[in-house]
Amino acid sequence: MINKKSQYISLEKSLESVAGNAEVNYYPEVRTIKLSGKRWGWVWNHPRGIVVQKDEHRKRVPIIDFTRLIQGVVYAISFLLFTIGAIKKYARSGGENHG
C-alpha cells in the first residue's frame, strides 16, 4: 500500500502453456507491477522467463532485458559523475550556493 487511496501489487505469474505438445509444455513467466489510485492507474508487465516442462522435469530459461540493463548501468554512472561534479562545484564555491 502506498497510501490510503492507492495500492501496489507486484506479482510473478506463470501463464498457461503457450506452445508444445503432449510431451513438452512451455509456460511463460511474467512480472506485473500494478499501481492504482482512485483516479489513476499504472500497469507494467515484463517477461521474466520461460519454463520448459518435459514429463516431470522443469527447466527455466531466463529472459534478460539487456536494453534495460545497459540503460540502468549507464544512467547510474551518469548520476554518479554528475553528483561528483556538483560536489566539486559546491566545494569550490566554499559551501555557498551562488546558483
Binding site: 505469474k13 506452445a19 489510485g37 508487465n45 517477461p47 540503460q71 551518469s78 561534479g85
Partner: protein, 144 residues
C-alpha cells in the same frame, strides 16, 4: 437553484463513473497475457515474441458553486442582486507502450532466447552519460 446544483452533481458523478470504466478497461488491456505473442511456425521452429507492456493513465474532475453578485443599474431597485452559479470540468490523459524484449525460438524441447536491443534507448543513455562526463570534466578543470 438547488435542483440545478443536484443536476450538475449528478452529471459530474455519471462522468466520473464512465471515466472509471474506461480506466478499468484500459488497465485490463495491459494484462500479463499480452506480454507473449502467439507462437508462429517458422520451418521446424515455433517463434514467440516477448514484450514489455505498460499502460498509465489518470483523470481529474471538479465542480463547484458559489454566489455571483450582479449590480443592478436601475436606481429604484435594490443595488445588488445575488445569484448563485455552478460549473464543472474535467480532464484526463494517459499513455500505453510496448517494447519487444526477446524472441523465443522453440525447436522440440530446445528453447533459445534471442535478446532484442533497443539502440535508440541505449544511445540516449550514452548521450546523458556524455553530458555528465563534460560537466564533471569542466568542474575538475576549474580552479578556485
Amino acid at each position: 437553484m438547488d435542483d440545478e446544483y443536484l443536476q450538475t452533481a449528478e452529471i459530474h458523478l455519471e462522468g466520473q463513473k464512465q471515466a472509471l470504466g474506461v480506466i478499468e478497461r484500459l488497465l485490463d488491456a495491459a494484462r500479463p497475457e499480452a506480454v507473449f505473442s502467439k507462437p508462429v511456425q517458422v520451418g521446424e521452429k515455433q517463434v514467440i515474441t516477448a514484450s514489455e507492456v505498460s499502460v498509465g493513465l489518470g483523470f481529474g474532475f471538479g465542480f463547484g458553486s458559489g454566489p455571483r453578485m450582479i449590480t443592478n443599474l436601475d436606481p429604484d431597485a435594490d443595488a445588488v442582486e445575488e445569484e448563485t452559479g455552478q460549473g464543472s470540468g474535467g480532464g484526463g490523459g494517459g499513455g500505453a507502450g510496448a517494447r519487444p524484449v526477446a524472441v523465443i525460438a522453440i525447436d522440440g524441447d530446445q528453447v533459445s532466447v534471442q535478446p532484442i536491443f533497443d539502440f535508440t534507448k541505449i544511445a540516449l543513455a550514452f548521450i546523458t552519460l556524455l553530458g555528465s562526463v563534460f560537466f564533471m570534466g569542466s568542474q575538475m578543470k576549474k580552479r578556485k
